[in-house]
């Protein structure tokens, strides 16, 4: 099995994620875009693991880590979005200026 097509897939997926992160206005979609990027990384991890065949299976372990962290992150992220939506009746990231000085 060759590595290159998988890496290309992961790169495309990552780029999609970056585009979504930078271009979408809806906070939920931004979060989804982040998920895309994380999953692209996961694909990379698995692919390299499959090639190297490390005895400790480091790649797979890391992938599971990332999935776990991503789940937690999305959970917190959605909670924040929900709260902001409740307070401001919008989920548009442009209108979030709470982090301004």
């Amino acid at each position: 099995m060759t590595l290159v097509p998988v890496l290309v897939l992961a790169a495309l997926l990552f780029s999609l994620g970056v585009y979504g992160l930078l271009a979408r206005r809806n906070a939920v979609l931004v979060l989804l875009a982040i998920e895309l990027m994380l999953n692209a990384v996961n694909i990379n991890l698995i692919a390299f693991e499959a090639m190297i065949r490390d005895s400790l299976a480091t790649g797979q372990v890391f992938a599971i880590f990332v999935i776990t962290v991503a789940a937690a992150e999305v959970g917190i992220g959605l909670a924040i979005v929900l709260l902001i939506f409740r307070n401001r009746a919008t989920a548009n990231v442009d209108e979030f200026n709470l982090m301004k000085w």
């Binding site: 970056v18 930078l22 990231v93 442009d94 979030f96 982090m99 301004k100 000085w101």
Partner: protein, 677 residues
Amino acid sequence: MTNFLLAAAEEEVHEIVAGTGGFFGEYAWIMLVLPWIAVLGIIFFGKRMKYLGAEIAIAMLAFNTIWSTILFVLNITKGVVYEGAVVIAEIGSDLVFELGWVVDGLSIMMYFVVSFVGLVIFIYAVGYMEGDVRVTWFFAAFTIFAGSMLVLVGAPNLVQLIIGWEGVGLASYLLIGHYWEKKENSSAGMKAFYTNKVADVGLIIGAIMVGATLGTFRFSELSRAAVEHADDLALVAGMIGALLFFGAMGKSAQFPFHIWLPDAMAGPTPVSALMHAATMVTAGVYLMARTFPLYQNLAEDIRPWMVAIGAITLFAMGLLALVANDIKKVLAYSTVSQLGYMMTAVAAGGYTAGVFHLFTHAFFKALLFLGAGSVIHAVHSNNMSDMGGLRKVMPRTYWTFLIGSLALAGILPFAGFWSKDEILVTLGHEGYTAVMWIAIAGAFVTAFYMTRAVTLTFWGTYKGHGHPHESKPIMTVPLITLAVPAAIIGLLNIPGVEFGNTGNFTTWLGMREVVMGDHHASAPDWGMAAIGLGAAVLGILAGLALYARDRATQQERDEFEIPVLYPLLRRKYYMDDAALGLVWLIKAPFANAINWINDYIIDGMVNTVGFVTSGLAHLVYGGLDQRGIDLGFNAMAYGSGGSGERLRRLQTGQLQQYASVFVGAAVMFVIGFVLFR
């Protein structure tokens, strides 16, 4: 503070000179400590007492007078000499600070003068200050002076001398500014303190050099090292001598530091009598006498300079007394002039001569000031133009003042004659012939201005307002008490005349550890005596010639160019003309020139220094500090604040803006990684 001394005295007193002190020598420190207890007593209880605290001070001084008289008798009969000290600090490098007391001929004489003259003046002051503001405070400060002066003259080392030295300076500041509601009085006090402080720099550095060179501040060690021509001391002796003399010039009002003394007359008259005539101002002469072996053996190079300064002082300041209208100023300039005599004598090598003049001068000048005070008290003015004709209404004051004047002028049996004569003899013997003639001319001037003062004050007709009358006995009795020594005390030191087997003043004064090598005549030098006396008599005659005739105004009497010159010319041709011309010559150009120099150059310099310093101060503070250094720090603060202000605009709070920066940076890293791997 006494407890400390007492507690320490039990264990740590160590004798420097073998203990021939006996009880009175070993406990002589009581004289130095007692005044301070008296000060506390006056401050805390004075206001409740009948004479507002004066009685405490008087009791203290009476005790000291008795004690010093006993010491004197023991000293001349049994040779009691003692020096004791308490260590008050060990400061490293084997240096110690000590407080102590000296009992030897010189210090006993000073103890006696300070205590006895002080006692008389304090009693006088009870009458003089009656009804004044702050009488208790006056006596407290006056007692601070007496205490500091005793600490000064009893000092066995330079550090203690400095303590007393600045202590008397402080008392002088307080008492000159006694009527401090008026700015000129407080300024006069400041001027005195400050002029002295400038001169003290010399004393302090001199003391430091002595301590650092010899490892001790003791006078006895200094004298010993000087007599033995110790090498390390010889190297710096000239410097030390010059510095100590610099300090002495300030306290003893030598030219050009004399400027503070006339202004110091702003204080109450008893203060002028005790401090600015009899004792405090002689501290510089005392210092020179104390360290005499240094000048005698090692610091010889600078002695001609010291003599020169003394000579300038004695002559130029005497001339200034000719033009003063304020009777206290006349006496003040006279004091400066007499201090010049003392300084000249000590500097020329006449230890005994200088100190003897100090001794006699203390009595007759104190007497003159008290007499002047009595007059001022009666006419409520300092100006001689408001006086005149007081001979009849104030007979006791007149006669005592006259005795004082004759003593100061140097007329035969009176005190001043003997001491001045001794100075002239010493100057002649030591080879300062020119200075000797200046001193003789000075004697002429002295007699002249005293005649003028007596004439204007007591003779003629009264020109002031009100009805002056003789002062109360509490003021006249001190006058009489002082008139006696002023008349006869010079007899103590007639060359060749000895009192039993104890010798005379010269021997008594020599009662100290390191023997002086100064010149003593074995028999009176009648030739010199005649010259000195002649100068004095001439001065009196000149004074009488000009002032004996009563005239209505000061203007008329003093500025005799036309109105006085004319009748005199009419009456007697050449003699008076010559005398007058001479006097006029001396008086108008020289005295006025010196007066001008005094007011414009020296005072001007002082003022210039003051203004320059003040200007510099504003420049340094306003320009350098506030706009310079502080500006730098403020600029740093505002710089960082301002850049923060600008930088924080980057923080927009826009999530996606942050993300794009982040992604952009990541891309840059990747590119960098690929390119520069």
